[in-house]
Symmetry: C2
Subunit: 282 residues, 2 copies
């Protein structure tokens, strides 16, 4: 097999994961980053940004169900939701399953990502792109939270990429402080928080920074087949939230379509295993 | 980076996972297979058999805690244990944590694997290699269960590699029937049962075959960083066993050393997610 027939990502120069390519569908330099959508034999169509694998048709539910449902099944009254990033559409698809949601504001910096995903990965955003509750803005999420009025949202989800390129400022104290200001007092912030096995230093830094700003910071864990490190983390942070108080009537709403989420998975994912406790020194 | 500086496994020609090599410690052709132990930057020392990644220093607990503890924390009286394969020693290490165990018979076909792992991966077998309860036999596991007396073991663990080379016969009906004969009526059989995401056909075949032989067949799931497919499965099979009846006094025994296992993880791992139900047609 020629090297050019593989779509490959290398992590810290030490691990590489490759998927054999069927066809390159998009490969363009947007204003912000290289945007690729590549059809692979193993994962179906894969979205890569600046060479980093973001999501794929075959495994996207491992990521999108995890970033949405632990918050949405436990929040008392999730009416107003803000998604920063999430240009592939998978996160808003899962949020729109809940009739409690009155509005979803999505702030994605790169319109080319949205266009490419609407065209080539339509199963990700699905009907959510046309949901009347969606307020889609092609804009900078960092500026958006700096300017939005305080106590506006019940849930803010940061569905960003790794802290390089346009996503770099999404991992800093100033951004998190603005998120807290824009959240209602009983609201929660959820973010993808990197891999404790593959990027233990970055994972730990995010936890430490969040703990300086929020009263309750709970990382949770699950595998993502597309990500070479296997074990990914998300974190749910807030001041007045109980992320294990699962509401059965919410679970019922998503059970018919969930490929991964169960209440048992929720409870297990939020239990910090020994190897992560060792990392965090707790 | 030169290709030769990477230890790489390719799955079904479509996915490849590589680790950058620090040093090759063992590379020999045994009577049965190519045995390699390679020191890598990301995973520490990795054992590969016929080019397939088996286990590594850094991630081995993801596999070994999962193959042992769901059975050992639920069996009423696990006194006599048989391990088929398991030449790296990680499985017997976890079994030997339980004082209830009176004997562990380990039948590994390839003495060269045991020797290489004792020398280069000593943290895997650790003290278990010298445990007086260990009866270590370098022999064919298929022949062993064909000849062993019936109703001998409380627990049989098949810790084998993929169904190629010397492990091929470990995935057939005759072998499973002999396992059942050699088990006590209330005993259980646990095996690694491949990946539902990476090898869905093989995973499904194993489940179907086991269901023809055992009354209760429960697959369970977890990630293994060393295995490119991310989501691995193990299966617990028996006629009179309740694999969710977790005994708290057993959990206490392993809690001080467990890097992964928790009762929450146990319950979640044994909950079949939607995407696997779809695969199994259940």
């Amino acid at each position: 097999m020629e090297p050019s027939n593989w779509l490959e990502e290398t992590y810290d120069d030490d691990v590489r994961l490759g998927f054999r390519v069927r066809e390159i569908l998009v490969d363009k330099q947007s204003k912000f980053q290289r945007v690729q959508i590549v059809d692979t034999y193993a994962m179906g169509k894969v979205l890569a940004l600046d060479g980093l694998f973001m999501t794929s048709e075959k495994d996207e539910f491992f990521y999108h169900e995890m970033i949405v449902h632990p918050a949405m099944t436990t929040l008392a009254n999730p009416q107003k939701v803000l998604v920063i990033g999430g240009g592939d559409g998978g996160t808003i698809r899962e949020i729109c399953r809940y009739p409690q949601v009155q509005s979803v504001t999505m702030v994605e910096i790169d319109g080319d990502v949205i266009d490419a995903c609407k065209t080539h990965l339509p199963s990700l955003g699905a009907d959510a792109w046309n949901d009347p509750r969606l307020d889609l803005r092609v804009a900078d999420g960092i500026a958006y939270v700096a300017e939005a009025p305080e106590a506006t949202f019940d849930l803010i989800i940061l569905d960003g990429s790794d802290p390089v390129g346009p996503a770099e400022g999404l991992f800093g104290t100033t951004f998190y402080e603005n998120v807290k200001r824009v959240l209602k007092p009983d609201g929660v912030f959820v973010l993808q928080s990197e891999s404790p096995t593959l990027m233990p230093k970055l994972f730990t830094e995010v936890q430490t920074t969040l703990r300086q700003i929020f009263e309750q910071v709970t990382p949770y864990f699950g595998p993502v087949p597309l990500y070479g490190g296997s074990i990914w983390s998300w974190t749910i942070a807030g001041d007045e939230h109980t992320p294990l108080n699962i509401r059965p009537e919410r679970v019922e709403l998503i059970q018919p379509t969930a490929k991964l989420y169960t209440p048992e998975l929720h409870r297990s994912a939020l239990t910090t295993p020994g190897y992560v406790k060792a990392l965090l020194g707790t």
